[in-house]
């Protein structure tokens, strides 16, 4: 399972799939990572400072409305990270690109942190608004379940030594987990009607947040997206290097 030089590819794929080659991937990520880190830093700093210092209080929620600049983007990324893992797992299963499997592995801890941020900010927001840190509301509950799925996924990666076996099994788990995550979402909805407000970003203007809050929120979301991309790209590179080092070491030991 050597990653790079030993396997000369018969035909060189071009376009998007050519980045499934680890060396090319590393080259590309090296080039675009500084931009991603920069964009993430700028938009996070601008968005959060804007949100924290320069937005008015909500007439009902007071200053707690400022939590939205962390809560909504992190919740969004928590779900999207899982979705990205699902896509990467599918690519691994179908096309057997190692980079894809490693990208899924790299995204999981980022998703965990995003889920934690969403849960934490939700709890401190819920305390003054609903009078409780935690309620078994459908949205909250499904996030907690998502968190458990992340934990299981990471634990499975850690538990299996052979990297290809681990990639295969975690991909299967990711697929099955996605189905059950959606099922749980509906089950939980059925089980308890919630306190949580509807989506804050729906196109339906009626229940949407006002413009003063909306623009800095978009900046923060962009910041979280770029942060996620930068982290995942960087971590994927780390995983590729670790695997390559291990492969070289194994070859050393053999000679």
């Amino acid at each position: 399972m050597s990653l790079t030089e030993d396997t000369p590819t018969p035909k060189r794929p071009s376009g998007f799939w050519s980045y499934a080659n680890p060396v090319k991937f590393l080259g590309l990520s090296e080039r675009i990572l500084p931009a991603f880190w920069g964009l993430a830093a700028v938009s996070l700093i601008v968005g959060l400072i804007w949100g924290f210092f320069f937005t008015p209080d909500d007439f009902r929620q007071g200053s707690t409305v400022k939590i939205i600049y962390l809560h909504v983007p992190s919740a969004l990324m928590a779900i999207n990270a899982w979705f990205m893992m699902l896509v990467a797992s599918l690519i691994w299963i179908v096309r057997r690109h190692h980079v894809s499997a490693l990208a899924a592995k790299a995204a999981a801890p980022v998703g965990v942190v995003m889920t934690l941020i969403a849960l934490f900010t939700g709890a401190v927001w819920g305390q003054p608004m609903w009078g409780t840190w935690w309620a078994w509301d459908p949205r909250l509950t499904s996030f907690l379940i998502l968190f458990l799925f992340y934990l299981g996924y990471i634990a499975l990666w850690e538990a299996i030594e052979d990297p290809d076996t681990a990639a295969d099994l975690t991909s299967v788990l990711c697929l099955v987990g996605s189905v059950f995550a959606v099922l749980s979402r509906y089950a939980v909805n059925f089980w308890n009607q919630g306190l949580h407000q509807g989506a804050s970003l729906s196109l339906d203007k009626e229940e949407n947040v006002a413009d003063v809050f909306y623009i800095p929120l978009l900046v923060c979301i962009a910041g979280f997206v770029f942060l996620f991309l930068a982290l995942v790209l960087y971590r994927t590179g780390t995983e590729i290097r670790l695997r390559r080092a291990r492969a070289l070491q194994a070859r050393e030991a053999r000679t």
Binding site: L156, L169, L173, V176, S184, Y186, F190
Partner: protein, 218 residues
């Protein structure tokens, strides 16, 4: 196929096969709950459906690591993988055997334990019915967990971590049906959903389990 089923059943019923351990566990959990929450019979009868569902679920979970581990160690699984019988079918049979030896006894024992927890009278039928509909799903999902972790040494804890989140929908609808039944509410929707999940899981999960097992047998 029938040979495999009878073999698995025989192994389970034989001394040391682990049959009855799940039942004993179910009993102990149920007995411990009043120690934990107090002997107030009104409270107990309110939480009884949920406790019984949870107890059955955990008892089912605990017996899962025997499902494939023994066959993995002695090489039976390799034989099964190379036999003409598709691995998907073999795993379905194994899940069925697990349900007959673990799930079914739990269903039958639940009403008796319901007495201990002061389950309201209308609740018994619904409890048994919901368990009867739900426990097959637990066995099938559990087979998937066992197939994922069969190559991991001491994978029991890992398997619980993987399987328990997958049990969430079944538990929600099952316990909901039992709870609604116990309080005399309409149970149709939750029972239908529960049956739907079980049917879907039985139809689809064997493919996932077989895929995972093939990876592990590679």
């Amino acid at each position: 196929m029938r040979a495999l089923l009878t073999r698995d059943l025989m192994l389970a019923f034989r001394a040391g096969g682990g049959f009855g351990l799940g039942l004993a566990f179910f009993l102990i959990v149920t007995v411990l709950v009043p120690f934990g929450v107090g002997p107030n019979s009104e409270l107990l009868s309110r939480i009884a459906p949920g406790i019984l569902w949870l107890g059955a679920l955990l008892a089912c979970l605990l017996s899962l690591d025997r499902l494939l581990a023994l066959d993995w160690e002695d090489g039976t699984l390799d034989l099964l993988a190379t036999s003409p019988l598709p691995l998907e079918a073999a795993l379905s049979i194994k899940a069925l055997a697990h349900w007959i030896t673990t799930g079914l006894p739990l269903v039958l024992a639940a009403p008796v334990l319901g007495i201990l927890l002061n389950l309201p009278t209308p609740g018994y039928t619904w409890l048994v019915l919901s368990l009867l509909l739900g426990t097959p799903a637990l066995s099938v999902i559990g087979t998937f967990g066992a197939a994922l972790t069969v190559g991991v040494k001491r994978g029991g804890l890992l398997m619980s971590l993987l399987v328990l989140p997958l049990y969430v929908p079944t538990l929600i609808f099952g316990a909901e049906a039992a709870r609604r039944g116990a309080t005399g509410m309409d149970t149709t929707t939750s029972l239908l959903m529960l049956a739907g999940i079980t049917a879907g899981v039985i139809a689809i999960m064997p493919f996932a389990s077989a895929a995972a097992l093939r990876v592990n047998l590679r």
